[in-house]
Amino acid sequence: MKKTINIKLNGTDHSVEVEPRKLLVHLIREDLSMTGTHIGCDTTSCGACTVLIDGRSAKSCTILAIQADGKEITTVEGLATAGGLHPLQEGFKENHGLQCGFCTPGMMIRAVELLGKNPNPTESEIRWGISGNLCRCTGYNNIVKAIQYASAKMRGAELPSTEPEFV
């Protein structure tokens, strides 16, 4: 019943035996011990489990691990480099883009694909772009600012003010 799959997770190759019914998020968290990716609703709604599969953002609670055979997966642990934080991580830190932090890994991974396709999104494009990610602290205003900050930083534009908004 079990099958061997090969995946690259945050740059490291892994060969793992999985049951077909194992979900990708369980492979990442339990077999490969990368617990930055969270399980929130477990029903394809909240986006906390968002990872990149060959660059496409995906809800890993709704993908079978076996479907990721031969693919490259990026999780929040794959964002920072030896050079420091990813611009999105810096943006969330500078703009108070998180409160409890549970949605943050999914938000940041989703924003990676969003900024890759649209490097200079409007506020409404950002809000539409993260419409599959829920923040139960409702900290959306600062999350939007964090993504705007990362967008400016990645384009080499002037950084927006990082005065956080408390409502």
């Binding site: 019943m1 077909p20 809800k59 709704t62 993908i63 076996i66 989703r110 772009g129």
Partner: protein, 271 residues
Amino acid sequence: MIPEQFGYSAPTSLQEAFSLLQELGEDAKILAGGHSLIPMMKLRLATPFHLIDINKIPGLAYIREEGNTLKIGALTREVDLEESTLIHDKYPIFIDASKLIADPQVRNFGTLGGNIAHGDAANDHPAVMIALRAVVEISGAGGSRTVAIDDFFHGFYMTAIEQGEILTEIRISRPQSKFGSAYHKVERKVGDYATAGVAIALGMDDKGICTYAGIGLTNVNATPMRAERSEAALIGTNLNAEAINLAARHASEDCQPSSDLRGDEEYKRHQ
């Protein structure tokens, strides 16, 4: 939530997939985008014995125009419809519908073929297909056949796809006239299934007279529904307010919505 145990194959050609379908019988399910099927399997509402993953079969995802016919491969992702300039320029109804389906992550995987083949009147593309009078290509070991969309939806989760067959292509012939299309749905929140939805495609001649009307309704009937009397109310008119109001009234009278958490029957008819 973890699905029940099942077997898994990922064929790399359609022929291989057809052989597997024949060998495994009706307990085998096709896995395309998986964003309807896997949630159902997690909730144990679906317990297929075996999944045949068609994502490794090349040549099933494309959007192209041949003469007057738009051809879309069944494995084309929602996101690819959303980002296609051809679709954007000539068939904006797909943009309207795709961007209202779930959310960006789901649209990265969900496929047009899956949205239709699932046979769920709550899905958005079936109404679009009805408005555009699409023809779908269904393939099996013996070859391919085509089915008009009006003959495709047989009941709740039931379609014209027979055992051993796979939906492979969607074809849309563009009427030879000024042509426009749009999709609108009422939803409780971003990404929800439609409380009610309407897909409409209209063609007009040079004098501004309506010569083509296609109207499909989402989630107000057991199967995706064509609003026939509404279409007839528009044809031959110059689409004045009176004709449009009559078409809307017919649609409201002819649909058969069921009351649920998204609203009661009366509310849905009003939409």
